[in-house]
Amino acid sequence: MRIHFKTSYEHDIRLFPDWWSFCVYATLIVIAVALPWLMDDFFLGEVTNVLIWAIAGLGLMLLTGQTGQASLGHAAFLALGCYSCIIFMEQGWPFLIAFPAAGILTGVVGTIIAIPAIRLHGIYLAIATIALSILADDIIVLMEPITDGVSGKFAPMINIFGIEIERWTTPDRFYWLVLAVTILCTLAYRNLLRSPLGRAMAAVRDSEVSATAMGVHIARTKAAAFGISCAITGLAGALMGFYAGAFNNETFSIVISITLLMMIVIGGLGSIHGAFFGAVVVAFLPQFLSMTKDLIGGSSVAIPGLETGVFGMILILFILFEPMGIYGRWMKIRIWFELFPFARKDMFKRQKSYLKTERLR
């Protein structure tokens, strides 16, 4: 086990606790950057998909894992980010302006929607956001003059200073673009965690009463969390649009919202790693299932609902046996090896906590 001797306050603020973890993450980034030379285009596309889902997951993680507000309507913000980015570009805006603008617009709209929503707790917030997700679908259809309704839109070519980027013709460049956005979003998330706003979010999640007594403005903090979360989700939505190439009102359905929430729960609520682990599961599950089907010699006919069914089953097992998600399991394995052979079984025993009710009726 590594022991950190802290000699200055800088130690606690640093991005990486020690040289070892700095090296690990640096290696990871080097490998990630070099990936296009190591993989064929098909797998590169899959990895790109994982990263896009991870960005969306980071967005929702900030809201659900960090601030404790479960949203079942984030597909609406994916859609808003996607549509606004593409529409801006159709107006002739360059990608480098349209893309952040889409993120900011989504964040602003998210904050405005949050203002009534933050008064809602738990299930009420869940149902409000479900309604939002369902409404988004219909609103896209109703706004046909701008959104092209059911027939949908096609993503244009991205052009950054003359470099053309497109998902199919230049998968490597598209991958690097997504990777850059992923790293930036992760950094922003990490920075929030080590500064007052991030702590205020955790405070709101764990005890609104004492957060208030410490001078944290609950509504403002939740609205900020909503805003940042929606902005990141909007960016992911725009990238999803480019990745899919074509999209319409059904691309960002309620199922996507639910999948996103399940994804971060499977990955591990409240951790950055969790968003990435969850994204891997979501992105590779369809491939995995079709491969298994081929292996057991099943027919090639698609079974409707199989993916969501299996996904649901995985989630149920996780909530029952490993509520901390993949990240929680990973941490336990790591600690077990670090302490070897001194790890005891009861070290990870969950603290029994009794129902702390917020219900008043």
């Binding site: 306050y9 706003l197 405070a203 004492s210 208030t212 410490m214 944290v216």
Partner: protein
């Protein structure tokens, strides 16, 4: 000495029940002021009035010349009022250090964008916050628990962490809601020394609700006895303890 906190004719009703009844008292700068009384006397309710969780039905509350009733619950801390809770309200899924750092929230000077970019100013501020928090950790001997999650800590330690979080905000007035409840004899003794030091070394005024009369008479300058939301007696610990009305309220009619 000047008056720091002043409560005048405060009344609070829940439906038909009068929780606080025409209560008037004031806390002087630099003193330790204790509120005692049987269960349901309205002691915690007084705290919740000061924290602005409840709105008084009538009366006024002023702190150092500021009308508290003009403020929302989240801006009470800005004036330098910090508090603890009867049933510990910590942030369970965060470390001790992070909990104490939330106490520094009222000193936040940076905005969202700066924090996302972690500009040099944020870094500098963070260092300042951490310096302040480390002092509190030293003062309360919390070093062994610094990076531990609250959820796994024993009750006595949590109680101290909550005190630490309130101290980290650098308050002028500290509201302690039953600081010794549930603590062992040794822990209560520690708490007593800390309250003494908080007042003497840090110059912080303390207003506390407490059942443990040993602690109350040990640290407090003045005591207020409450019953049914109204003032029963006020004075030095000895005066209040020997007041017939107080004895009657505690032991029932006819005991005095």
């Amino acid at each position: 000495m000047s008056t720091l906190l002043e409560i005048n004719n405060a009344t609070l009703k829940f439906g038909g029940v009068v929780a606080v009844n025409d209560l008037t008292f004031s806390v002087e700068e630099g003193e330790v002021y204790a509120i005692v009384g049987p269960n349901g006397a309205g002691k915690s309710t007084v705290f919740n009035l000061i924290s602005r969780f409840y709105n008084p039905y009538a009366g006024s509350i002023t702190f150092d010349g500021h009308n508290l009733l003009d403020r929302n619950a989240d801006s009470v801390a800005d004036l330098g009022i910090a508090r603890t809770f009867q049933n510990i309200e910590l942030f369970d899924h965060a470390t001790v250090l992070q909990n104490l750092l939330v106490g520094r929230h009222r000193h936040r000077k940076t905005n969202l964008v700066q924090e996302m970019l972690f500009t040099p100013k944020v870094r500098q501020e963070e260092k300042r916050h951490r310096e302040a928090v480390e002092e509190v950790i030293d003062f309360l001997d919390l070093q062994p628990y610094r990076d531990k999650m609250i959820a796994g800590l024993p009750y006595g330690v949590r109680k101290v962490v909550e005190l630490g979080r309130a101290l980290a905000s650098g308050p002028r007035l500290l509201l302690l809601d039953e600081p010794a409840s549930g603590l062992s004899v040794e822990e209560t003794q520690d708490m007593r020394w800390w309250i003494d030091d908080i007042r003497k070394q840090m110059g912080i005024t303390v207003l506390m609700v407490e059942h443990d009369m040993g602690l109350v008479s040990g640290v407090s300058d003045r005591v207020l006895a409450l019953a049914d939301g109204a003032k029963l007696a006020e004075g030095t610990p000895q005066q209040v303890q020997s007041d017939p009305a107080v004895i009657e309220a505690y032991l029932g009619a006819g005991a005095a």
